[in-house]
Symmetry: C2
Subunit: 404 residues, 2 copies
């Protein structure tokens, strides 16, 4: 008899019919001889409506109260899901974050899970009940209601799986799993059977938004293997786990793309210690989130610095970079949107050479010009024109044998 | 500095604008130098929507889960109300029933308040915060969420006022207070300044539905004076409190009417011990709620028994009474709808004679035929034709000097 944690997101519980589906699946899993804990999000749309209500009474709602308000979303879903299971002849009880023993820090709207005391869950499981736990929420030691921020329900599921030492944690979503590339771009893309935490983290930070990085990092830290799969069919999903020898045999696990990027280049930056930091401190103070940074070695006492960001961030820049450039005596500031990032990810890269060569070769043969290159231990990212991104993804997917 | 508990029902918090009104009023009350606790219901319509959702996943939703579901309604309102006060520059915190220390029995959907441990409320008040407490809900000793059933938010307010030894408890509603009669029927009806608990209880059980009897009984038991007043204006309302000498000077406090009644008469019931109980046991088993029962003394070894009920209950009867009548060897069973009840209420009746005479006289002079009479210590009720009820109310209102 295994202990299985199943997590269903907002789309998977978006209507009463879908809640009935979730109930059916949980009951089936139990009838196969398992103990089952189900973690659910708010029904899709509910959170947005609550935020609208809050804005109608306050221009800047108190964060403590925002948490009290938003927590009603999952509380509604847990009650409905438990009712649905009971109506089908099963035995289920709902538990809010607080009741499930999820203890968090006191930072409202983005609290951190500090501890889980799953005494109530354990007791109900012992009684043969299916436990329906509210995702995304917890309480502080003093009993204040908190929420965990974006991706919070995944985090709840993985943390509960860790606390209960569950045999399996299933993250049900609206996709079949993690793909070698976005199937809308590369029709030959295949579902990945097994992927390492680090690979998924690199894919996620490169635009493959199956899960928030924070949940994957949590799973990695506590070594909780989990499966990403669809709530709309019975297909096997993608298992995410610690790396093991076999995983390295595949050099490239997947390719992710991120559109709508922008690039800023500052030319002739004087090559003095502390100059680069002037730019990035100013960017941080203006809350501009930047992605890739490239600076090449200086040959003539000055250098060029480039960085990329989501094109939406470009607005926040205003004349900021121009002012700093003038202050430090740099040259021109060139801003350019309409670019995109393609990332090739795989832990096998560590022990295999030639990945960069293969990537540059296939792009070059296709006439795709590379504007920037950035690498990590298990990733190579290139910045190219946005209108070439789909072509580039298909070329790379083919070149690394992912289409086979 | 006084401690004031203010309760706002579903209509009073039905829209964001109305919630802002509630916030403004609470803040004003605090700025006048008082400590303020606000008890709120779910926004009107919200509870019905939640019930609809529950019915969509289960034909007979588990009561434990129904409570978890419904409790989200008030939780939404407390968060919004606290936000609104904070947005106006005030200091407010929301508290769910559980957080407010409201301990109840474990009977889901109609739990009883067993104790209130208002430590959190007291601490927040000490900090100058306005406490916004969710009405209608509490938790059991084991931490299960419960709700208190109909009129539960009034009960919460009065129980908190009792626990905090509040100086005043204000029940804000959509009427200006308790009237001598329904103003839609008797235009001369006046708002009552002060009324005794027992009088309001008799008025409530006679169709004046300002508040559920259970909250008034609770207030009486713990001697919590309260004021019923409108959330839409600043008029003084009606104070409900223990009786005192001055209250008896008015013989009749008010008149209440109840339409849509039905009457059943069983003729020639053998006058043997236990015969009447046969009928009423059968009625109780069929869950028929009956109101007035009249049986006159027996002159010839048999008697007539009549009882009234809401006309909607008539359906449940079916052939029940006819079968029992035949079993015990009684005569005819006559069922009649289209009747109504008029009740004259006042604690002054105890020490004044002639109230019945005045009532019968004025009705007789107006040509209103009385079909049944029932009296209690502080009430006289008569059953008449429904089409005569408005005329009768105006006649009695005038005869007892309530129009002056």
């Amino acid at each position: 008899m295994a202990l299985i944690v199943q997590k269903f997101g907002g789309t998977s519980v978006g209507t009463p019919e879908r809640i009935l589906n979730v109930a059916r699946r949980a009951l089936e899993t139990q009838r196969e001889g398992n103990s089952v804990v189900v973690v659910v999000s708010a029904m899709s749309g509910v959170t947005d409506n609550l935020i609208k209500l809050a804005k109608a009474v306050s221009p800047a709602p108190t964060e403590r109260e925002m948490d009290v308000l938003l927590a009603t979303g999952e509380q509604t879903t847990i009650a409905l899901t438990a009712m649905a299971i009971n109506a089908m002849g099963g035995k289920a009880v709902s538990l809010t974050g607080a009741q499930a023993g999820i203890l968090t820090s006191g930072v409202h709207t983005k609290a951190k899970i500090e501890n889980i005391a799953p005494r109530q869950i354990r007791n109900h499981l012992k009684d043969g009940q299916i436990c329906i736990v509210a995702g995304f929420q917890g309480q502080t030691l003093e009993g204040r209601i908190t929420t965990l921020g974006r991706g919070g329900s995944d985090l709840t599921a993985i943390a509960i799986a860790a606390a209960l030492k569950a045999d399996l944690c299933q993250i049900y979503t609206d996709v079949d799993g993690v793909y070698t590339c976005d199937p809308r771009v590369v029709p030959e893309a295949k579902k990945i059977d097994i992927i390492a935490y680090d690979e998924l983290l690199e894919m996620a930070s490169s635009g493959s938004k199956v899960m928030q990085s924070r949940s994957v990092e949590f799973a990695k830290k506590f070594n909780v293997p989990f499966e990403v799969r669809s709530s709309f069919n019975n297909n096997r999903g993608t298992i995410v786990k610690e790396e093991f020898i076999g995983l390295e045999n595949v050099v490239v696990r997947g390719i992710s793309i991120e559109r709508n990027q922008a690039k800023v280049t500052i030319t002739n930056v004087p090559d003095r210690p502390g100059t680069a930091s002037r730019f990035f401190t100013a960017l941080a103070e203006a809350n501009v989130v930047i992605d890739v940074i490239v600076q090449n070695i200086s040959v003539s006492g000055s250098t060029d610095i480039s960085f990329t960001m989501n094109a939406d961030e470009l607005e926040k820049l205003g004349g900021l970079i121009d002012r700093v450039a003038s202050d430090v005596g740099a040259g021109e500031v060139i801003k350019k949107s309409g670019i995109a990032k393609l990332s090739v990810v795989g832990i096998g890269m560590r022990s295999h050479s030639g990945v960069a060569a293969t990537l540059f070769e296939c792009l070059g043969a296709g006439g795709v010009n590379i504007q920037m290159i950035s690498t990590s231990e298990i990733k190579i990212a290139v910045i190219i024109d946005e209108e070439r991104i789909e072509q580039a993804a298909r070329l790379a997917h083919e070149a690394f044998g992912l289409s086979a």
